[in-house]
């Protein structure tokens, strides 16, 4: 598959008739990365499938306004993150219920999920991650699984690098604590 630089894609976008072609390239190039990012937040494949489609629709709608100030991948991960958080908000049972409660319910579905192949320790790690506050969880996933740089995570979440480092440190401690006690 031919790889395109962000600048090449932006150049193609200057021609409206090439928009569908650019979107096809984007889907082909980034669908797995975006899907796994969403999946680690939502756990369920069915939910992730809905959200990835909404994410691509949002990307399609807003692509013309992308000016290349950040990397295209960072911009798309931001959209995927926001769509996932919006989706979780819709799952709240009432307006005052904290998002963390929704995450705890996700934990119940972890092994009931059809497409979960982890062993006992992988399951425990996911359970531990699900106990983190939602933004801390997203940050942890991006740093730990996706090995993203703090600078990039900070652009996605709109948080300072210092706060992210502290967050990651707290998340690690909480996860270690959880694993010791379960």
């Amino acid at each position: 598959m031919q790889k395109y630089a962000d600048s090449e894609l932006l150049e193609m976008l200057k021609f409206p008739d090439k928009k569908a072609q650019v979107m096809t390239i984007i889907v082909r190039t980034y669908q797995e990365r975006l899907y796994w990012h969403i999946r680690k937040i939502l756990i369920s494949h069915e939910d992730s499938n809905d959200v990835i489609q909404n994410t691509f629709i949002k990307i399609h709608q807003n692509l013309q306004s992308f000016k290349g100030n950040a990397k295209l991948s960072t911009w798309m991960i931001t959209i995927a993150t926001n769509e996932s958080l919006q989706f979780l908000k819709k799952k709240k049972r009432h307006i005052l219920e904290p998002l963390e409660n929704v995450a705890l319910r996700q934990s119940d579905h972890l092994t009931a999920e059809n497409y979960f192949s982890g062993d006992e320790i992988a399951k425990k790690l996911q359970e531990a991650i699900l106990t983190l506050p939602i933004k801390q969880r997203v940050a942890f996933n991006m740093k730990y699984f996706d090995e993203m740089k703090y600078e990039e995570i900070s652009k996605v979440l709109g948080t300072s690098v210092g706060a992210l480092k502290a967050n990651y440190h707290h998340a690690k401690n909480k996860i270690q604590e959880y694993l010791k006690n379960h």
Binding site: W36, K40, H45, Y115
Partner: protein, 133 residues
Amino acid sequence: MKDYDKIKFNSGNLNGPFEVPEGYFQELENKMVQKFEAKSAHKHLVVDISRFRKIAAALVLCIAATFAIWKQNDKVIIADDLDFQEEYFAYELEDLDDELLYEMTENVDEDYDAEIEYLIDNDIDFESLITQI
């Protein structure tokens, strides 16, 4: 974090313990490509007439038709419910000619002034009723 590092690197990928159905990504790509092609091919104008009585609805449709021609929309969707999952009537732009507009308006009430009053009393803004998608 030693144990977790082992999990991560042993899995050989960044997906954690998750999997997808076989052929999922190809299927997703095909589905999205179809959606984008459809979106590129069509530029629709949606008009919600659910809040109007007959003559007011006809007026809105006349404005919408003019707007559609100006904006080169290829389809005008006339919805009686803003939930687009519900059934709606759709007319191709070439059908939206004088004859169709006449058909839309021929059976409206005579009480034109009352309808205009209704629009003014309810402070209805035409532009807010017309949605570009």
